[in-house]
C-alpha cells in the first residue's frame, strides 16, 4: 500500500499513529519512494526506551519525529504529593547518571524559596561532588558515543574504569553509588572525612593521565573524524532559540555557562575556562566534553587545596515541619547535560503546590530533527548520542 506525502504528513501530525513498519510511501515532490522506519524503542543506540519515527529517502533523513514517554511516571505529580524533603531522593531518579547535581539543583531552588543560607564547608562539598559528577558524566557520554559509532568495548571500558573510581568515592561519602540523596536544604546530609578528601585528591591527581590517554586514543582517530566532523551541525542561532544548553550549546560557539553567569555556590572563587566549539558538529560536542573534563579537574584541584572546617548543615535550618511561606522560586544550575532548573510554588503547606523540573535533555531534544535532516540513518545514532540524553529525565 502506498500513501502520498501529504497523507503521510497529516497522519504524522494529527494522529501520530505510525504506519506499520517498512511500508513504502510515495513522495511526489522528490519523485522517489519514502520509507518509514521506526527506530526504537528498544534500539541499543537510544540509551533507554526512546523511539524515532524516521522517513527516509534512500538513506537520507527526510523527517524525524521523536516519540517518548515510555518511562513517564509523572514525577512532577509525585512531587506535589510529597513533602519538600521527600522529593529529594526522587530527584536522583531523574538523570540517574548524575544524581548529585539533581540534588543540588533542587536544594538550590528550595533555598531560594525560603532564603536559606548554606555553610561554607557544605558549599565546598557540593562543588566537589558536583564536579566529580560532571567528570563521570562526560567520560560516560563520550564512551557511549564512541560505542554507538561502532568502536565497541575499548573506549567505553576505559571510561567505565575511571567512572568506577568516582562512584566508589560517592559510595564512601553517601552510601550509594548512583542514588546518592546527599544534599539537604541548608547543607549536606553527612560530613566528609579527611580520608575521603584524600581519596578525592588521589582520583583527581590520576585524572589528567587518563584524559591524555583518552584524547590520544580518540581525538585524531581517522574513522572517528570521518564519521563525526561536519555531521549534525547545529547553528548557534537555532541553538539559542531552541533553548539548547550545556555542552551541546557551547559546541556551537555560544558562550553560556550557568556556573559563570549565575555564579551560584562558590564558583566565582575558582579560575576556569569555558571551552567553546567552532562548527557545532558531533566532533565539537565530543571534544567539548573532553575539554570540560580538564576544566573540572582544574576546579577540583583548586577546591581541594583548602576545604574549610565547620558544620555541613546550617544549624538554623528547619527540617521538621518545613513549610515555606507562600511564594515561588526558580533555581537552576549547570548540570552536566545543560540547564537543570526547578520551579516551585508554595502555598504555605508542607507540600509544594507546583513542582516543576526543567530537564535539559528534554529541551535539547527539540532540535534533534533539525540536526538530523539530510544525514543518513547511521549518523542519527551519532547525533543522538552527541546530545547526551537520559530518558529518566526526558520522560520524568
Amino acid at each position: 500500500m502506498t500513501l502520498s506525502a501529504a497523507e503521510f504528513g497529516a497522519r504524522q501530525h494529527a494522529g501520530g499513529k505510525a504506519l506499520p513498519e517498512g511500508r513504502m510511501v510515495i513522495d511526489p515532490e522528490s519523485g522517489g519512494d519514502l520509507l518509514e522506519v521506526s527506530m526504537g524503542p528498544h534500539h541499543p543506540s537510544t540509551h533507554g526506551v526512546f523511539r524515532m519515527d524516521v522517513a527516509l529517502d534512500g538513506e537520507r533523513i527526510v523527517r524525524l519525529k521523536p516519540v517518548f514517554g515510555y518511562l513517564h511516571r509523572n514525577h512532577e505529580k509525585l512531587g506535589e504529593e510529597h513533602s519538600y524533603l521527600a522529593s529529594m531522593p526522587y530527584t536522583d531518579r531523574l538523570d540517574y547518571i548524575c544524581s548529585l547535581t539533581n540534588n543540588w539543583a533542587y536544594a538550590l531552588a528550595v533555598e531560594k524559596l525560603v532564603g536559606q543560607e548554606v555553610p561554607e564547608r557544605a558549599e565546598y562539598l557540593r562543588l566537589i561532588v558536583g564536579e566529580l559528577t560532571r567528570m563521570q558524566n562526560h567520560i560516560l557520554s563520550v564512551g557511549f558515543l564512541i560505542q554507538d559509532m561502532g568502536a565497541s568495548g575499548t573506549p567505553l571500558m576505559y571510561g567505565f574504569r575511571e567512572r568506577e573510581k568516582i562512584l566508589d568515592l560517592f559510595e564512601a561519602l553517601t552510601g550509594s553509588r548512583m542514588m546518592c540523596n546527599y544534599m539537604r536544604f541548608g547543607g549536606c546530609r553527612v560530613d566528609a572525612t579527611p580520608e575521603w578528601l584524600d581519596g578525592v585528591r588521589k582520583v583527581v591527581a590520576g585524572m589528567p593521565a587518563f584524559a591524555d590517554e583518552f584524547e590520544r586514543l580518540l581525538c585524531t582517530n581517522e574513522i572517528l573524524m570521518a564519521r563525526t566532523q561536519g555531521v549534525g551541525v547545529l547553528r548557534p542561532e537555532l541553538a539559542v532559540s531552541a533553548g539548547v544548553t550545556g555542552p551541546a550549546l557551547r559546541a556551537s560557539g555560544v558562550n553560556y555557562d550557568i556556573r559563570k553567569v549565575d555564579r551560584y555556590g562558590i564558583y566565582d572563587r575558582f579560575d576556569f575556562k569555558v571551552p567553546l566549539g567552532e562548527h557545532g558538529d558531533v566532533y565539537d560536542r565530543f571534544m567539548i566534553r573532553l575539554l570540560e573534563l580538564r576544566q573540572s579537574i582544574r576546579i577540583l584541584e583548586q577546591a581541594l587545596k583548602d576545604v574549610p572546617g565547620g558544620p555541613v548543615m546550617d544549624p538554623k535550618a528547619k527540617i521538621r515541619n518545613f513549610r515555606p511561606k507562600p511564594g515561588e522560586a526558580y533555581g537552576r544550575i549547570e548540570a552536566p547535560k545543560g540547564e537543570l532548573g526547578f520551579y516551585l510554588i508554595s502555598d504555605g503547606t508542607g507540600n509544594p503546590y507546583r513542582y516543576r523540573v526543567r530537564p535539559p535533555s528534554f529541551v535539547n531534544l527539540t532540535v534533534l530533527e533539525d540536526m538530523c535532516l539530510g544525514y543518513s540513518v547511521a549518523d542519527v545514532v551519532l547525533i543522538l548520542g552527541s546530545i547526551d540524553i537520559v530518558l529518566g529525565e526526558v520522560d520524568r
Binding site: 501530525h13 509523572n74 531560594k112 539559542v240 532559540s241 533553548g243 553567569v261 520551579y343
Partner: protein, 228 residues
C-alpha cells in the same frame, strides 16, 4: 538589568494595546512576574526578545499550573431586624450578626515562562498567561514561533494540563499516549478505575477492584444479551 516595573513601562511604551499586570512574589527569591493578556502576548514576547536592552533570547522554562475553583468561606457582618422579647414586650430590634457565606472563585489554568538573555547574560524575567476557565475556554497563544524551545514544553503543558496553544505547529500529546483522555497533572484528576491487572489487591484497593470487576462483568453480560 531592569526591574519588573521598568520592563512593564517599556512594554507599554512599545506595545500600546498591551495591558500588563505585575504579580508580586513574596518569597525571598523576589522573582516577580508579568501577567500578560492573551491577545497581545505574542507582540509583547517579540518585543521582549528583540529589544536591544532586554534581549531575552533564551526561553528556559515553560510551566503549566492548575488553579481549580476555590470555595472561599468568609464571615460577613450583617445587620438585621430581629423580633425579640425585651422586658416582657415584643419589639423589633436591630442586631448585628456574623454570618458565614460561601463564594466560589473561578479557577483557571496558568502557563509560566522563564526568560533569560544569553547575549546580555541576565535574567530571569518571568511572565505568565491565564486561561478564561478550566473547561472550554483554555486557548492561549503559543510562544513557539517566538522561541523554538517552547515547542516540546508547550506540548507537555497541553498533554498534562489541557491548555490549547493557538499557533503551535505540532500540538500533540508528548508524554502520554495518543488516545489518552484526561490531563493527569490537573489537581482534580482521578486515576481511572482500572484494576484488571492488579495482582495483589487488598483492603481499600480490593474493594474497589471487586466493585470494578462486578461492573465490568455486568457490562459484558449486557453486551452478550444485546448481541443475542
Amino acid at each position: 538589568m531592569k526591574t519588573v516595573e521598568e520592563i512593564k513601562a517599556a512594554i507599554e511604551a512599545a506595545v500600546p494595546s498591551a495591558s500588563v499586570e505585575i504579580v508580586q512574589n513574596p518569597a525571598p527569591s523576589a522573582q516577580h512576574s508579568l501577567l500578560l493578556k492573551a491577545e497581545t502576548a505574542v507582540a509583547v514576547a517579540k518585543f521582549l526578545r528583540d529589544d536591544a536592552e532586554l534581549a531575552l533570547d533564551f526561553l528556559s522554562n515553560v510551566t503549566g499550573v492548575d488553579w481549580p475553583d476555590k470555595e472561599i468561606t468568609e464571615k460577613v457582618k450583617v445587620t438585621k431586624m430581629v423580633t425579640k422579647t425585651v422586658e416582657g414586650t415584643e419589639q423589633q430590634v436591630e442586631e448585628t450578626v456574623e454570618e458565614t457565606r460561601k463564594r466560589v472563585e473561578p479557577g483557571y489554568l496558568e502557563v509560566v515562562y522563564h526568560l533569560y538573555s544569553m547575549t546580555k547574560k541576565h535574567g530571569p524575567v518571568v511572565f505568565r498567561m491565564r486561561t478564561g476557565n478550566r473547561a472550554d475556554d483554555v486557548k492561549l497563544p503559543s510562544m513557539t514561533p517566538v522561541w523554538r524551545s517552547a515547542e516540546y514544553q508547550e506540548r507537555e503543558v497541553f498533554d498534562l494540563y489541557g491548555v490549547e496553544f493557538v499557533g503551535h505547529p505540532d500540538l500533540r500529546r508528548i508524554l502520554m499516549w495518543e488516545g489518552f483522555k484526561d490531563h493527569p497533572m490537573r489537581r482534580d484528576y482521578v486515576e481511572p478505575d482500572d484494576f484488571e491487572y492488579e495482582p495483589t489487591a487488598h483492603d481499600e484497593v480490593l474493594k474497589r477492584a471487586q466493585a470494578h470487576q462486578a461492573a465490568a462483568a455486568a457490562a459484558a453480560e449486557g453486551q452478550k444479551g444485546a448481541a443475542q
